[in-house]
Structures are given as structure tokens and as C-alpha cells.
Amino acid sequence: MEETIWEHVQDFFEGAVFVYGTTLLVVYALLAIMSLIAITRFKRREKNIDDEKMLGSPIAPGISVIAPAFNEGLTIIGNVRSLLTLNYPHFEIIIVNDGSSDDTLEQMIVEFELVKVDFAFSARIKTQPVRGVYKSTNSAYSKLLVIDKVNGKSKADAVNAAINIATFNYFLCTDVDCILEKNTLLKLIKPVMSEEKKRVIATGATLRMVNSCDVDEGVITRVRPPRQILPRFQEMEYLRAFVLGKMGWSWINCVPNVSGGLGLFDKEVAIKAGGYDHKSFGEDMELMTRMVRYAYDNKIDYAIRYIPITLCWTEGPSTVKIFMRQRTRWSRGLSQLMFAHIKMLFNPRYGRMGLIVFPYNFFFELLAPIIEFLGVIYYIVLICLGMINWHFAILLLIFVYTYSIMISTTAILWDQITFRYYKSWKEVASLCVMPFYEMILYHPMIMVFALRGYYYFLTGKKHTWGNMQRKGFNTTAAKMATANNNNTQAVK
């Protein structure tokens, strides 16, 4: 029987989607197995070892903690105090006031007794001009250094300015409103110092939502999954991405990205790779790609490592509007990255990066929303034409649904194996129900926001890094923040 062109297209699309879907499912299953191996090894290694006794060592390498701040006046003091509670023998904290239009800098000057100092540095990465460098006259804050610079319209520019000024050979990049576990520096430098043959150019750890956690003086005192639905979805998604995904990739040294919320980097490689790209919307992934590229070009036997424990708590967007803005930016960053480094795709010169990480990102991160969207359209067309076999379609949908629940539940189990962060089983259960709703509520949102990001990338729409309108952790500060936000919006 002679087939029409439409039937050929139909056959091709269905075949391609089948291969695509099967590969993705196999990759997830492999990641689950590899991450379990990596987590089990990590647990066995750490079981009997008390790292805290290393805290007094005078030979520990120094680390510069970098946290950029833009219009964070409502929470900046608490945030800086939280960073000052870090426990490590040799570190400095660099806060970059990226041309805030509020009183972020003034508050820090008063609270931490800062004075402007003549500070000489070599600007190895080009940034917007630095207006001044501040140090505290109070020895209690001797580790603190504040940079005031002209706004660079991106986090990347702010971090680059801090990298230029940073003293030590390693820098930890975080967001000023993230809460770090007190031994974060020790935990992240350990994989660097324990590597036998490779040069570890970056390390990272799991991030979680701070939204419903108890925080006292910038320190987490009780971990809870978020009470609100949207941040709770994000908590589950983060666990899947970090504990299952990145741990699995770490096991085969194929980590695609070290999160911008928490990552420790080799400063020399980061500078030689050119620092963060201030034009990128996914600056963390972009830097990682260039660092890896630099390592391959210069024959550096590198490694990027992840650890499964949670060291950083960040506030997840709790409204759809802010969430949309965040995810649009991320997907725009991904498309920028793929476009800029397309030569690495399937390029054996870039080893695992070119043959595993990049193809994975290209097919299963970049193309996934597009293929999904086309799939939905195709489904609707078939329904309209009455060409759908409902029996099979429902069976396949049930399969995809149960498989996605299995993967997310596995991630929660792996997290429980790592550490029992939640106090009660009810809290774990509240997280375990999220995979059931993910496919219906959360996933479609992500797909639409990703497509929005691609559209902005293609049309070159202007976008600034802006304020995330955080609610803050401290109850009083949170109330003030909400009140002030409302007032500001009312004035506008």
C-alpha cells in the first residue's frame, strides 16, 4: 500500500520520539544507579571521620567567599552576619555592592564599622569600575571586605570584580541571601584536597529551600520542606537534580554545571578561562563550560566533584510570576550557552564534555521542552483527526507518569540515605506526594517558561538580573520586607 507524505512524517516523528524517550528513561535509570554508588561511597568514607578536628589547621588553603548584593537593604545585615558564622581557619568574605539604588552599602558601613581603603588590585577580568573598597575598623569583622562598584546589570560582573580582588587560590561563589552550613568551606575544599591525580577545578553540594525552615541569627535550626506548594515542588526538583542527577554525573566526572548558589572554584583556572560572562543568563553553567574547555585546551587532567549533603539553603520563588522570571532566565541562559559553544557538541577533542555532557544538555535539556510541546500539539492533532488509539495512548501515559514518580521518589530515598534532614515522617510524606502532581501542575509550567526563554533568546529581548523580591528568613525582617515591598509597589 502506498504511504502518503503525512504517514511518513508521522512514522518518523513517532519513531524519533520513541528513541528519544527511551534514551531519556535509560539515562535517568543509569543516573539513579550511579548516584546510589556515589552516595554510598561518600557515606562509607565519611562515616567514621570527624572533619571538624581539621578546623584549627594552620596549613588549610585559604578560600575567598564571594557574595554579590543588589538592592538587598532589607536583609543585608542578617545575610552578612550569617556568612560571618562560617567555620574555617583561613577565609575572607567579599560582599559586592553592585551599584544598589537602596541603602545596602550605607547599612553595611554603619553596622560593620567600615572605612574606605586604598586597595590595589589587578583587574585580570574586565568589569564595571570599582568605586571603592571597604574594610572594617573592628577586628571582629576583619574577614569582611566590601566592594562598591558601578552596576553591571548582571551577577557575573559583580562576581568578576570580586575575583579580581580575592586573595586566595580558591573562591566560593554564593548568593548573599543564601544560608550556608557552618562547615561548608571545609566540606567543599575536602574533595579538592583529597583528589589523588586530577586537578579539581570546581566542587558543589546540594541546595535546598529555606522557605519553611527555622532560622536563628542566620543559622538553620530546623529543616522543613516548604509548606507552600510551589517551593515544595522546587525542593523535590532540587533533590532530583542534585542528589540523583549531579551525584550520578560526578561519579563519572561529567558534572555539567556547578550551581551559582553554591560552588567552590579554582581561581586560576576561572581567571584564565575569562571569568563569568556578564552577557550570559546562565553564567554559572557558562563559566563551568569555559573552565572545562580551558582544561582540555591546556591538557589539564581536571575533575568536577559533587557531594550529596546539603550545605546551602536558598529561598525558592513562591509566586508563579517570580518563578516564571527565574526559569525563563535559566532557559535563556541554556540556549545562549549551547549556541556559543556548539562546536563542542560531539567533538572528541573535548572528551566527556563533548561526547556526553554537551549532547545530554543539548538533547535532553535544551530540546526537551520543544519536543514536549510538539508532542502535545501532535496529540491534539491526532485527537482532532480521530486517529488516536486511546487504549494504547492511556497505557503509555500511565507508563510515563509512573516512571516519573519512581525517579522522583528514588531521589527522595537517596536523600534520606544521605542524611535525615526532616525530623518527622510526615514531612517526608509531604514531599513524597509531590511527584504525583508534578506531571499535571509543575511540569507544564516549566515547559512553557522554558519556551518563553527560548523565544526571548531568539528575539533578543532585554532582561536584567533584577531583585527576586525575597521574603527573608527573620520574622521581623520578613514583615518589614513585605510591608516595604507593598509600599514601593503602591508608590509606583
Partner: protein, 386 residues
């Protein structure tokens, strides 16, 4: 596929009447759906079980520890004989208090070991010795030694930690091979144990070490060496001169600096001719920190042929020595170099010469370019440490 055909197909045939007529893709999808459902249920069960086991463990510990605390406080910490100054060996211990079924399970015995270790970390002197005596008299050391014979490396590590905490001696023949184990954690713990427990030659393993001392190993060893009491500290120059292991040499340089072993200076000076620039820069750093001014002229002499990391260390070393002999050299580097780090370190070293460099500093501040002046002000500011 064989699995599907042999085991699962009959099951599906029973419940899905049309199973055999389905396309293969659908058959696989049905099979994997069942696998996913079963796996999810197993995952839930595992989560529940792990939480139950964890909370049961916590409850058991919460029950046993107060009892142990009571016994240990009464019998060891507030021991009357100890207060009267009776020698530890002659003090009878109330072993009958541990002669209860509750303390005889493997879990309880492990809990006792851990509690004893916890107390020993907090109490030294005679109380520490009495805790050790209790550990031995309860026969707990046999359990720790038993773990050392295990095939599992993590049990061996646990054993070494327990024996080290309780200051139990281990025969060289048992522990020395472990210091070169392929497993990093076991190797590291064996080295720690060897240093802590070997009374005569705690650093003997430096002679036999074949694997490199990783940075983390060095951090741990440094902490242990510098905090262990009654340890006989050798002249580390011995390994600086003879060891073929680069990491051992670098580590010994750090120890030489820590213990201010001036007698090691000639051996370190010899390292300046080493081909490895990593070792050279470590040696220069050590010479600076030891204020070994006899090496100053040689450092200036080799300066121009060194890579950047060594040059920076030379500038820092001259500053630390602070003799004033090479101020002109520092001035020249500060004014002529195009490298920022060289200028900054030269400036720092000029400033650290204090009264020797006052006049030169004044002159430089008057005549330097704006950028160099900024570097000088930066280095002179006491608020800026680096």
C-alpha cells in the same frame, strides 16, 4: 526480553486479555509500568524502614547514654580512690555495674566504647587512664582488635579510631602495611594511628611511604603531629634530604617551620637546586619563615632564573628575613616589574623591613607612579591583611 517472555508475560496474559496482541512497545511499557510501581512502593517502604531504624537507634542511644553517664560519673570522674591520689593501676573498678543484660548486646557494647571515647576526649590525666582501664577490663579492646581483622576497610578504620582513642598499642607488623593501603581512608587512619601509638619511631612510615601524601592527608597529619602530647619530634631534615617522595619532603618543610628547626636550614638550602619548582617554592617559603638569612644572597642570585611562583616566594622570604641587605633589589623589582603580584610583594617586603626601609619608603611615596603609590598605601594599611 527473555525475562519478559518467561516470567512476566504469563502474568500479564492472565490479567490483560489482549496482551499478546499488543505491539512490543506497549508490552514493554506495561512491563515497565509494573516495574515502576513496584520500585516506587519499595522506595516508600525503604524510606519508612530507614526512618524507623534511625529513630529506634536514636531512642536506644537516648536510653543507654544517661545510664552510662551516671555510672561513669560516679565510678570514674568522681572516684574516691582517684581523689585520694591512689595510683590508677590499684583502683578497683565496679565492673558489676556493667554486668546487666542491657549492657551485653553488641549494640550496647559499641555504645559503651563510643561513650568511653567521648569521655576520654574530654578528660585527660588520671581520669583518662581510668577510662582506658575500664575499656580493657570490660574486654572492649578485644572487640576493637577484632574489627581490625575484618575484610571491610571501614571496619578497620573504626577499629583504628577506637584503639588510637584508647591509646592501645598495635604491633608494627599489623599497622605498617596499612599505612600504604590502596584505600585512601584506611591509609590515612593507619598513619594517624601509627604516629599516635608508636612510642619510639612515630615517623617511621615516612621511610616506607610509597603513595603521595595528599593535601588532605597532610592537613590531618599536621594536626595530629602538632597536637599529640609526648611525641618525640625528630629532625625532619632527614626526609628533606633523603626522601624520594615529593609530598613527604613538602610536608616535612611545613613541620620544620612549625617546630622552628634551624638545624634543618642547610638541607633546605640544598633543595634550591631541585628541578621541581613546586619543591623549590616550598623550600624558599620555609627559609623565609625560618628567617634563614644565610640563604638570602643565594635567593637573590637565583631570582631571575625562577618561575613566577618561586620569584614571589623569594620576595616574601626577603621581607620575612628583614635584614635590609637587599632593599635595593626589592626597590628595583617594585619599580621595574610589569607584573602586579611582583610589585605588590616587593612593596610588602620593603614595608616589613620597618626602620631599615623608612627612608626608602618616603622616597618611593614621593616619586612613584599613581598605581605604585596605591600599592604602597595598600600594603601599609594595617586593616588590609593580604
Amino acid at each position: 526480553m527473555l525475562l519478559l517472555e518467561a516470567f512476566f508475560a504469563p502474568f500479564f496474559r492472565r490479567y490483560f486479555y489482549y496482551f499478546d496482541s499488543y505491539p512490543l512497545v506497549i508490552q514493554i511499557a506495561i512491563f515497565l509500568t509494573v516495574v515502576a510501581i513496584v520500585s516506587t512502593v519499595i522506595a516508600y517502604a525503604s524510606i519508612l524502614y530507614r526512618r524507623y531504624r534511625g529513630s529506634r537507634h536514636d531512642k536506644k542511644i537516648a536510653r543507654i547514654n544517661p545510664l552510662l553517664d551516671e555510672i561513669l560519673t560516679e565510678s570514674i570522674i568522681l572516684n574516691d580512690d582517684l581523689a585520694e591520689g591512689k595510683p590508677v593501676e590499684e583502683i578497683p573498678l565496679p565492673l558489676e555495674k556493667f554486668d546487666r543484660p542491657r549492657f551485653k548486646t553488641p549494640f550496647a557494647r559499641q555504645a559503651i566504647i563510643e561513650r568511653l571515647i567521648h569521655y576520654r576526649k574530654n578528660f585527660s590525666g588520671d581520669i583518662g587512664l581510668l577510662l582506658r582501664k575500664l575499656y580493657i577490663e570490660l574486654g572492649l579492646e578485644k572487640e576493637s582488635f577484632g574489627k581490625l581483622k575484618s575484610f571491610k576497610w571501614d571496619r578497620k578504620v573504626k577499629s583504628l579510631i577506637e584503639l588510637t582513642a584508647m591509646d592501645m598499642s598495635i604491633a608494627d607488623v599489623n599497622i605498617l602495611p596499612l599505612t600504604n593501603s590502596k584505600n585512601r581512608e584506611l591509609r590515612a587512619e593507619a598513619r594517624h594511628a601509627y604516629i599516635k601509638l608508636s612510642k619510639n619511631e612515630p615517623f617511621k612510615f615516612f621511610d616506607v611511604v610509597s603513595e603521595p601524601l595528599l593535601m588532605w592527608d597532610q592537613l590531618e597529619l599536621f594536626k595530629i603531629i602538632t597536637t599529640t602530647k609526648d611525641i618525640s619530634i625528630p629532625n625532619f631534615a632527614r626526609w628533606v634530604t633523603y626522601s624520594s617522595n615529593k609530598s613527604v619532603v613538602a610536608f616535612c618543610l611545613k613541620l620544620i617551620v612549625h617546630y622552628n628547626q634551624q638545624e634543618a636550614v642547610p638541607s633546605i638550602i640544598k633543595l634550591l637546586d631541585n628541578k621541581d619548582h613546586y619543591l623549590r617554592s616550598n623550600a624558599i617559603n620555609a627559609l623565609g619563615k625560618l628567617k634563614a638569612d644565610e640563604a638570602e644572597d643565594k635567593l637573590v642570585q637565583i631570582y631571575s632564573s625562577q618561575p613566577l611562583d618561586c620569584q614571589l616566594e623569594i620576595l616574601k622570604a626577603i621581607g620575612r628575613m628583614g635584614t635590609g641587605k637587599n632593599l635595593t633589589f626589592l626597590r628595583q623589582e617594585f619599580l621595574r616589574s610589569s607584573d602586579f603580584d611582583i610589585r605588590k610583594n616587593a612593596a610588602k617586603s620593603i614595608i616589613s623591613h620597618k626602620q631599615h626601609s623608612e627612608e626608602m619608603l618616603g622616597e618611593l611615596l614621593d616619586t612613584a607612579t599613581a598605581e605604585n603609590k596605591l600599592i604602597l598605601k595598600h600594603c601599609m594599611n594595617p586593616l588590609i591583611k593580604y
